[in-house]
Structures are given as structure tokens and as C-alpha cells.
Amino acid sequence: MPDPDAGPARCRPWPTRRLPPGVAMTGLLEINELCVRVPRPGALWQRLGGRNPPPLEILCGVTLDLAAGETLALVGESGSGKTTLARAIMGLQPFCAGSIRFEQAVLTGRGRRRWHRLRRRAAMIFQDAVASLSPRLTVGRLVTEPLSIHGRPMGDRAAEAGRLLSMVGLSPDMAGRYPRELSGGQARRVTVARALAMEPRLVIADEPTAGLDVSVQAEILNLMTGLQRDLGVAYLLITHNLAVVRHVSHRMAVLYLGHLVEVGATAAVTARPRHPYTAALLASEPSIDPARRPAGPALDGEVPSLFDRPPGCAFHTRCRRATDLCRTLQPQFLPVDTGHVVACHHPLD
């Protein structure tokens, strides 16, 4: 147990306890105690005096693993660090502590060659599909872009593009189009095709259905599940849509202000959330059944600013169960069930 008087633990590594591997058969991706901090430039006189304010803690000691062929959903409100985690895994965001192990190769902050390898074996789908497509390239060129980056021989570029496009349910005729001529759903499919071009083991999908109509959302989700079944790719699915999480993910991890608060099998977590935040998140989701209207919002207030991170348990400012202990001491991760861990001093029953 850390000393309760130590004050707010700023990015102190979490007590090292590996997560129970859950459904993991072969670890594809292991994230260990990952911390991301960004320096906060102070005022001029502060900089001259060499007294910069403490850096912003975006992610604090995140430990997660992902098995081949499974879907892990990462949920949390905006500002919880979901996208930062995804970017860190892809080597787009430097991290200050911790490690990422992908297919047994350890990746730290430096070393371009290793990231290069990861980028060949893993792919990311960005939140804004149209904006993530280079606007001056044709769709055919875009989907084959990873192949040419990694110098993968492809007999006929057009044929390869056609194959990738038809894999995601688009007509090969689309190859000549430009990103701005695509609809939201089509652009999304193109990004999926591009992500699958190198036959990756892992696809990180950042809000893959944000801004899409329900029917298109259903098509994209079906596409992703189908491809997982056929190709065995693992997904790290980042979303704030709990209905989607429940529908497509095997396990879920809940992030709050850069801390993981609960990890477990989706069915277990949604049926019986143990962290008050997870419970509130689940209760906030408007039900499609008018008969089950909530009496009031399950959670008051908003996520605190990163500039003003609360000491102790980051969630205590909004938690109805918070005690003095929560206000001073960061909770540790504790297993509550097989493959189900929670970081809370007073977990729900």
C-alpha cells in the first residue's frame, strides 16, 4: 500500500500486477504501465526561471493486453485519453514511461525500426474518415498505399485495389474517385480496406461509427465483425457508444481521466459493473424503450480538466460513494472475478 500521506500520486506507476489474461490465448499486444505526459509551457518568467508547471498527465499507468482475434473496447468520455492511447500504440504519441509489447517485440519511446515493424503488422482507422484520406490521391491509390510504403510487391495495382475494395463491399469502379466524392459510409469502408491491405494482426479503430446513421453504422460494424471472423484480426475499438460496445466487443476497458478504472469481459461488466463510474456510464445511456426512462441523470457534473486533476481517485469529485480515503489515495487494481478487475476503494456489489 502506498503511503496515504504521500499526497496526489502524479503518474506514479501503478502497483505492478499483471492483468489476468482473460480470454488471452496468445498475447498479441501488451501495454504495461504506460504513461503519457505532455509538457505545459509556462509563462515567460516561469520559463526563464526554469520552473515550468508540472506536465499534463494524459495517461497514467495504463496496463492492458489484447489477444489475437479478440475485440477489446475502450470506453470513456471525451478527454479520458482513449485516442491518446491509440496514438501511443501506433508510435504517433511519445510516452514517458511504460512499455508496449507487440508480437513479443518490446517497443519503447525510441527506435524507428521497431515502430516500422509494428506499423506493418497493425493499422489504425481514424475517427474522421474523410479527413484521414489524403485528398489528392484516388481511392485505388489510397487503399494500396500501405503496400507501396512497405514495398510489398503487387502484381497489378488496379487489381489489388479492386480486390481490397470488394472485400469491404465497395465496387472496384470506385478506385478512380477522390475522397471528397465519397459519402461518410463509403469513406469509412475505404479506410477499413486500407487498414486491411497489409493483412494486419491488429486494427485500432477510433470511433469507427461516429457521425454515421444507424443503418450505415450497422453495415460498418457487420463488415468489421465479418472480417474478424474471416481473417482473425484483433480490434482495439475506441468508442463512447455503449450499445456498440455491447454488441461487438469481447472485453471492455473503461478509462477515466487517463486511468483505467475497470477491465473485464463485456458481458460481465455490462451485466454487473463494479466501478461506480462504469455503472453511471451504463445507466446514462438512453434506452430505446420509452418505458425505462431514468428518473434523472446517473452522473452529475463533467470530467474535470486535465489542468486540475483531482488528488486521490480521479473520479471522487463525481462519485456518490466517495469517502476521505478516495480523496487522498489512488485505488489499486483488484480482481473481483476471473478476468474482471476494478480500481476502486468501494466497488459495487
Partner: protein
Amino acid sequence: MGVALLSIGIAVVAGTLIGLVAGYGPRWLGMLLLLVLDTISSLPMIMFALAVLTLLGPGLWTLVGTIAFFTIPGYARLVRAQTLALRDSPFIQAERSMGAGFPRILFIHLLPNVIGPLLVVMTMDIPVVIGLEAGLSFLGIGIQPPTPSWGSMLNDGFVFIRNTPLLVVFSGLPIVLATLSFTFLGEALRERLDPATRRG
């Protein structure tokens, strides 16, 4: 007119390179280049051009070099701003996540998106530089006689402005026509390019 095209061509190439480096390179280099560019644009162009041309002696290449030197900052700043706006955009992030290298990102993904607005500004600049060149010749420090120049013709006429005003009017007309036609050419080009760049 050859002077104008030549100097703008040089300025565009140099400005693009500097702008790309300033926008995509390390932060300190960007700031340093920005300071240098600001300094150049803070130098009063015509006065400086006057000084340079008299000191180095008037000549075609001195003229071209001076004009190019002073038009570089405009292009470099434009390219830098565009690059800065694009460097954190999702599609560049996506390229990086696929493992694309620096030259690939720079030349295949950034440059084509920067070149549209650059062309537009370029065509708008040609008439300005034509005017400038004529102006310098008018002051007697551009292209030297006996090479004929619209500006020096004007200067010959200006001496007699009160007696034969028509001389001035007519020797000024080609300049007006040239600058105007280039401008409207540029406008037409802009109208063709702009919707595409906007949507893209």
C-alpha cells in the same frame, strides 16, 4: 516581363522549399526561419532594391535576384502556414501510422495540397512584379538602355509630361494591358482551382 516570370519562378521554388522545412521541420528551425523571413519582409523593398541595384550595378540578374529575394518570404509564409495546418491533420497522421517516411509525406501528401493556393498567389504576383520592374526601370535602375523597357520609355516621356502628355499615356498603356491581362488570367485560373482546393 521575362524578368517577372523568371524571378517569380525562382521565388516560388525557393519559397516552397523553405516553407515546407519551416512548417514540417523541427520547431526551433521553423521559428528561426520565420524570424529571417519577417526580417526580409520588414526591409523596405524598393529602397533596398534601389540600394542593391546601385551598389551592385544594374543588370538583369541583379534585378531578378533582388525581386526574387523579396518575394520569397510571401511564398515561404504561405507554404509554411498551409503545411502547419496540414501536418497534424488526420490524413498525415494516417500516413505516419502506416509507416510512411518523411520524404513521402512531404512530396506525395503535403506538396500537392499546398501547390493550389501557391499557383493562385503566383499568378496574382506576376502583374505586381511586372509593375515593379517597370517602376524600377522608370527610376532608371532597372534594365539599362539600350535594352528597351516599358519603364524607361515612360521615364523619357515623363520629362515632357506638361508638353506632350500623350507620350506618357501611350508608353504606360502596354504596362496596364500586360498587368491587367495577367491578373484576369490569374482570376480565371483561381476560379477553376478554388472549388477543388476548397472541397479537398
